[in-house]
């Protein structure tokens, strides 16, 4: 219940940030960098993530966890990057549901691709969270 509330509040905060961001005119400089990253990330998502997490990021009941407004996706960047680098093979509990499929490592992706796909996921499916940069990934896996 607590988790639900945290997720909900996080969602609300994100939503209001998103709405206020919508009102201001687009700034070309920094926004376009993360927009490109997200666009490239979509390509990676379609190839590597969609088969399990699905087109809408909603996952699959009992098996593949949703990527919509969860603390895994919106929270700590390092934890999220590590899930892609190392894979994830333990029960995930989100809002009382558990998801049990093993996620393989996606270490074959470049650091740029990992930054791109995580930026895409953190800014789609109703999510709004800061971009993941190559520097963020480099910190955990230097030079790929």
């Amino acid at each position: 219940m607590k988790l639900v509330r945290v997720v909900f509040i996080t969602g609300l905060v994100c939503l209001s940030t998103f709405l206020s961001a919508q009102k201001t005119p687009k700034k070309a400089t920094k926004a376009s960098g993360s927009a490109t990253s997200a666009a490239n990330g979509k390509i990676v998502y379609m190839q590597s993530c969609l088969p399990c997490h699905q087109q809408d990021g909603g996952g699959v009941q009992n098996m593949n966890p949703p990527l919509i407004k969860t603390t895994y996706v919106l929270g700590d960047k390092d934890r999220l990057i590590k899930i892609l680098l190392n894979g994830f093979n333990e029960d995930v509990e989100i809002n009382g549901d558990t998801y049990s499929n093993a996620m393989p490592s996606f270490a074959h992706l470049t650091n740029q691709q990992i930054a791109d796909v995580l930026t895409f996921v953190r800014n789609n499916f109703g999510n709004k969270a800061p971009s993941v940069t190559v520097a963020d990934v480099n910190k955990l896996r230097p030079g790929k």
């Binding site: 088969p51 399990c52 593949n64 549901d97 393989p104």
Partner: protein, 431 residues
């Protein structure tokens, strides 16, 4: 004269009352005392059939069992208020369950009634509960442990059960893997030599139905090479175990040079197997291609989509399009439905996820005609519309997902849904 007249006018009433009493006691009547929902519970059915929602919003309703008086036991995959099993009773005979009781605090899938016991399974163990003359559980708080300590490594964890007529119980122990790769679900990773998973999973195990506290050592690996079976039933006509396998996932994702996205969406087949003791259905070494009609060597073991697998592997009894996830099979032995359904199989397809980005499929109940204990002729969709809309089918975001099947004493077909927890009752109402 007058008394005679009165008596004779009462005669039909007495006869009707007598028949009603007979019917209530033995449930041999096939007349329907209730009306299907106006929209047939949202289902599309063949002419003459109707449906109603006997219960709704129960939770993750997996397999179900119906008693001789029409009460329903439901196994939940996630306990609700500490109850993993629900007992549903229809007090006023309108077809709607109006009394719900719960017990058994463990999640799971298996639910089956045989020889005075209700059998239930968690994802590790098999339990049974003694039933009274009305098939009500005598002591819900104290089940007997029939089998304990079965492998549960999360993937394919459900332990479905069915009994034969010789005192044995059959338990599915699903493989905790997609295709026994050295690195699970990892692109290009090859298969483990002599797949060790098969020692303790990836098959059907046979145990004694009335012996307590059995473990792997006391059971027999009845059939192997079955990736994951959720639906299984005992065919009474030829006294044989039939199972439905969930076929492997991700041919394209794991071997993109060998399979297109489109091929990966429809292959391999979801297979029905008629099993004999000692049979090997071939997982992870082969999969069945329903268009080539061949057992194809898996890419993890050197296959290229065309090479056939090794010998000694049985053929499926029937094959269905890929990834539709058959979660239940039921041989229909009732008298309510038209004759052609008798001894045929109903199959509940839970619906796919592994077809993305291609459209998903399934989310329906299929009828497979049988003749002399073997599939005979093409399968057909019997009950559709569980998903709520065509768009929900395509996206996989179905409102309801068929998961369990059971036959009522009057010949009604019950279907459970593990998404919203609806129990459907399908009846035939044409004379």
């Amino acid at each position: 004269m007058k008394t005679k007249f009165i008596f004779s006018s009462f005669l039909p009433l007495i006869a009707v009352a007598g028949l009603a009493w007979y019917g209530a006691k033995y449930n041999s009547s096939t007349s329907i005392a209730f009306t299907p929902d106006a929209d047939n519970a949202g289902l599309k059915l063949p002419d003459g059939f109707g449906a109603l929602k006997a219960a709704d919003n129960l939770g993750r309703a997996r397999h179900i069992a119906v008693t001789q008086s029409g009460d329903v036991y439901v196994k939940l995959n996630r306990a609700v208020n500490g109850n993993g099993i629900l007992f549903l009773h229809d007090g006023n005979g309108d077809g709607k369950m109006d009394d719900t009781q719960g017990f058994g605090n463990y999640p799971g899938t298996g639910m089956y009634i045989k020889n005075g016991y209700l059998y239930a399974s968690s994802n590790n163990d098999v339990y049974r509960y003694k039933l009274d003359a009305n098939q009500k559980v005598v002591n819900p708080a104290e089940p007997e442990h029939i089998v304990t300590g079965l492998i549960n490594r999360r993937q394919h964890e459900s332990k479905s059960v069915v009994l034969d007529n010789d005192g044995n119980i059959y338990v599915n122990i699903g493989a905790y893997s997609n295709s026994c790769q050295e690195q699970e679900r990892t692109k290009g990773s090859m298969g483990r030599k002599g797949c060790p998973i098969l020692d303790s999973a990836g098959g059907i195990w046979q145990f004694k139905a009335d012996k307590l506290n059995q473990t792997y050592g006391s059971g027999t690996r009845y059939a192997t090479g079955l990736r994951n079976v959720v639906g299984l039933d005992w065919n009474q006509q030829n006294n044989q175990l039939f199972v439905m396998q969930h076929g492997r996932d991700q041919l394209h994702d794991l071997f993109p040079d060998l399979y297109t996205v489109q091929q990966s969406a429809i292959y391999p087949a979801e297979c029905m197997y008629a099993l004999k003791k000692g049979d090997n259905a071939g997982w992870p070494y082969i999969y069945y291609d329903q268009d080539q009609h061949k057992k194809i060597l898996a890419p993890e073991y050197g296959g290229d989509g065309k090479k056939e697998g090794p010998s000694g592997i049985i053929d499926p009894a029937a094959a269905y399009p890929g990834h539709m996830a058959p979660n239940a099979i039921l041989f229909y032995t009732g008298n309510m439905f038209p004759e052609r359904y008798k001894n045929g199989a109903f199959i509940a397809f839970h619906g796919s996820w592994n077809r993305a980005p291609e459209p998903q499929a399934g989310f329906f109940v299929v009828f497979q005609p049988f003749k002399d204990g073997k599939p005979f002729g093409k399968w057909e969709v019997f009950a559709d519309g569980f998903a709520g809309s065509e768009a929900n089918v395509v996206s996989g975001r179905a409102e309801h997902r068929p998961s369990g099947l059971a036959q009522g004493p009057d010949g009604s077909l019950y279907v459970s849904d593990d998404n919203k927890g609806t129990i459907y009752r399908i009846v035939y109402n044409r004379k």
